[in-house]
Amino acid sequence: MGINIEKVKKIRESKPFSLWDLAVFITIITAIVILFVFSFSSQKEGTKVVVYVENEFYGEYSLKENTQEPIPVYNKDGKFLLNMHIKDGVVWVTDATSPRRLCELSRISKAPQQIIDLPNRVFIEIVGESDIDYISG
């Protein structure tokens, strides 16, 4: 309950950074570097684009096909959600109906990168060669 006035006074007199902050910075930066290395090393050439809508499988498309027309994605009630484009091995999304349309920022080309439209619960993922072998075998 209430505040610790002595502590607040100390903070008001202090500088925006302190020596102990280094511990926090180093921890976070190390985590970022390790996770980046891990996620880049797990990337490989993709072959297929898999789309899930509302946690259910929606469709599977070849990454090699060049779509002249965008692929429209609908939900179960037939409501239009977004248009998906595949060209030269790159996948992106336009005309999303989600409020902030953040999913239109992503461009993905390698497995297992993904585009997510959280409000519409659309999940687009590139799947690599070995994953398919694993599933079929």
């Binding site: 209430g2 006035i5 006074k9 302190s18 102990w20 910075f25 891990f38 996620s39 297992p112 959280l118």
Partner: protein, 196 residues
């Protein structure tokens, strides 16, 4: 006693409304950190952090819960309550613990940074649970880099707010330190009640 409670409720109300406005303004801005879709500046975190230090743990908890609950109202998406509340409360918990146990040693900036990191990681985990795709956690390194920038910025803003706001706004009717520094405030309080 009654005045004290009213004063507290009013302060909570003011802080909550500032947080809500910040939250709303932020949703109007174009995404600044383009490389990590969904990562936000977390402007409302300025309020959480300032409140944590100037209003105390309980009041801040109320502010976070009310802010997350109300902000979900204008987003029209049922999942955004879970999303917003999960991230908000996790960040609150981490920042409160750090402030309680490590504060004069580590600065407000570092506390803000830890809060931003927690917020983004927890929201990514919640998103991955909502779409039931564990691969979404591959976005965490991007989210972490975004929160590094956002957390630093928010931390500096909060630091200077705490530095510049007049302390008397918060020491008056403070519920802690009843034995020590309360004589001055009590006298104001008593004078005030006599006049009525």
């Amino acid at each position: 006693m009654k005045n004290k409670l009213l004063y507290r409720i009013a302060r909570i109300g003011i802080f909550t409304s500032i947080a809500l406005v910040m939250h709303y303004l932020e949703s109007l801005l174009p995404p600044i950190l383009v490389f990590a879709p969904g990562a936000k500046m977390g402007l409302a975190n300025v309020v959480t952090l300032t409140a944590l230090i100037l209003l105390g743990y309980v009041d801040t908890f109320v502010i976070v819960v009310v802010r997350c609950g109300l902000s979900a109202l204008y987003s029209s998406n049922p999942f955004s309550v879970v999303y917003s509340l999960g991230g908000g409360l996790a960040a609150y918990a981490v920042m409160a613990l750090l402030y309680k146990f490590a504060s004069p040693k580590i600065s407000i900036t570092a506390i803000s940074l830890s809060g931003a990191v927690t917020h983004n990681v927890v929201q990514t985990l919640i998103a991955s649970a909502i779409v039931e795709q564990i691969n979404l956690i591959l976005m965490i390194p991007l989210m972490l880099s975004a929160s590094l920038i956002a957390g630093l910025f928010i931390g500096l803003v909060a630091h200077y707010i705490i530095k510049c706001l007049p302390l008397s706004l918060f020491t008056k009717f403070n519920t802690a330190n009843a034995s020590g520094s309360s004589t001055y405030e009590d006298s104001i309080f008593n004078d005030h009640s006599k006049q009525n």
